[in-house]
Point group: C2
DNA sequence: ATGAAAGCGCTAACAT
DNA sequence: ATGTTAGCGCTTTCAT
């Protein structure tokens, strides 16, 4: 009746670390089996049969035992933990991806250890150290780590890594994403084909957004268009930024039905702000002003007018990333290491084909 | 799908564990000191002096050693892990809170273990089990766990718990939030004082939102207003929902300058959708239609017209929650266990005071 | 199908 | 300021 004593010991709630001191051995003793049998019951119930199984189950219920995966992980060298790194929690661009990852991992018995990388390079090394110290079974980077030191460190650690939302020329390990250069280029091509010749660019200083922006500008340049009004702002994309952005643009540029200006944004949220400011000023979109977003977030189809944008399937990215990782963790060989999920230009009402 | 079964289905050996087998003892041997000295260097560097310290540092660099907190946690009974439970990853209402929690915990050397509770009660028990099996040093619930069984279980576990975003009559342990009943009532009072007499309600079926809604309706009822058009939708609040919501409302109700209708939403996102649909229909807000949101999310001040709403400081909630928990974890006695952060009615341009 | 022994890598507790 | 000893709670491995 050691267990009775243990349970009694639980009652004084004073001490902070008065944690359920019921161990697997306690359960085993109460059930009259070996600790190993309880362990088996917990990890693969079907291998424990009939009466033994019932006894164990009853003992667990009776003691209120909670499996201690810390100890198990130490011994088995498997934590069932996957670290997921986000650049920022508040950027809704990654929400769908994160949700998909989280759901799929949970369904396979893995838990998510969250790391926020911020946008500062110094913190990165520290974050990685902290993550590796938990011995995750895998790591999913949403966005990318930037410093080469970190990338090497990660490679050296031998932990399976999936990078997402980008197509790096030198992936650390696995990769699910699309080309930001191509996306920027396609936006330029599309708007040029629709007849636009005057452009402004609204961007925040997120690294992938900047690459799209650069690629966009380069494509315009190749068509001889060089006088693009550029507004790059530090921080997160917000509606306010879009409103301020359009105001700034309009201070320098005239616009109207005869000479429509196309505002290209690196985020749907900013574009939404541009639409809002346009409405506030009574500007007719797309006749006087065209607006292009990025992401096809869930609101994009429902703005007024509906936002033309670059659709990226965040849920798909998350699903694929989790799937790839889980495949590797299951020890399956020959899984893909690289997936380009692409993007789609979605033409809605905030852009139009201009008559000549 | 049952997680227990799934876990059993996982093929056991991932085979991929090429993990840095460098241990603390290896480092100690190379540095010519006892393992305990290396441990001290890692946990409180200032206690290891001069030459010893340098030797240890060099040995760590030389070996590429990564601290194994799994083992340390097992021995010391401190994981430095805090579980944070969110109802859904994609609801931006909690983003600020989560960001604040994450930042503050990281600054104190804690890491976040994320759990998504969904809105299904059955999953809750399972989630809690999984979380407790990691022996977190603390748990922060963003939103609340619903089943009494879970609450008792949590209380029994002895793990410090902070509930947030609500003011429960029976907190599990600590609590940071505000009264949703009061918020609903104040919205009714305010709009009545401004002269509105015709109302519609747009809500999603999130439990706290419903409580605000009920309280709002009750307050109207007490003033004899009973014919409120109600639209409760399952799932997450989206812009589309707001647009559809207003359309539904307008199918049944006429509105105009003489008899303005006030649309009360349980989320800013829905309210934003209402504003959008109003703009699309050419309805003048607030003259023909008034709109009230909830949350004061970062876009609310920048919609057109600017959205009147109930401001809740999500960052403050997160900061306070993390602070409370950290205080407890530091063993400080006499910290507050309950904080009402309140809310504020923010009057912007989507509502107005009516002339009699 | 179940059990016994050993030890994962670290740190608490007690020396020195 | 540094070292020694023991053991956290589980699972691997081998035996029955």
């Amino acid at each position: 009746m050691d267990i009775g004593t243990n349970m009694a010991d639980l009652s004084p709630p004073a001490g902070n670390k008065n944690r359920s001191s019921v161990t697997l051995s306690d359960v085993a003793r109460l059930a009259g089996v070996a600790p190993m049998t309880v362990s088996r019951y917990l990890n693969s119930p079907q291998t424990v049969k009939g009466a033994t199984r019932d006894k164990v189950q009853r003992a667990i219920e009776q003691t209120g035992y909670v499996h201690n995966r810390l100890a198990g992980a130490l011994r088995s060298n498997r934590t069932r933990l996957v670290a997921v790194v986000l650049p920022m929690v508040t950027n809704p661009l990654f929400s769908d991806t994160f949700q998909a990852i989280s759901t799929r991992l949970a369904a396979s018995g893995y838990q998510v250890l969250l790391g926020v990388s911020g946008h500062q390079r110094e913190q990165e090394e520290e974050l990685l150290e902290v993550i590796l110290s938990r011995r995750p079974d895998g790591i999913i980077l949403t966005g990318t780590l930037h410093t080469p030191g970190c990338r090497n460190r990660l490679r050296a650690s031998g932990v399976p890594v999936v990078e997402t939302w980008d197509l790096s020329p030198e992936p650390i390990d696995m990769l699910v994403g699309f080309s930001h250069e191509e996306a920027g280029r396609e936006v330029a091509r599309k708007l040029l084909a629709q007849g636009y010749r005057r452009f402004a660019l609204l961007a925040v200083d997120d690294p992938r957004g900047l690459r799209r922006a650069d690629s966009f500008l380069k494509a315009l340049n190749e068509q001889g268009i060089t006088d693009v009004s550029r507004h790059v702002t530090p921080g997160a994309p917000t509606l306010a930024l879009g409103r301020e952005g359009l105001s700034s643009v309009l201070e320098r540029s005239m616009t109207g039905p005869a000479q429509p200006l196309a505002i290209v944004c690196t985020s749907d949220t900013i574009a939404h702000g541009v639409l809002t400011e346009a409405a506030a000023r009574g500007l007719q979109v797309p006749y006087e002003l065209a607006v292009m977003g990025f992401g096809d977030m869930n609101f994009a189809a429902h703005t007024f007018p509906a936002l033309s944008t670059v659709k990226v399937d965040g849920t798909l990215i998350g699903d694929r990333a989790a799937h790839m990782l889980l495949q590797r963790l299951r020890g399956e060989e020959g899984g893909e290491r690289l997936q380009d999920v692409g993007f789609t230009l979605v033409e809605r009402d905030s852009t139009a084909t201009l008559r000549r």
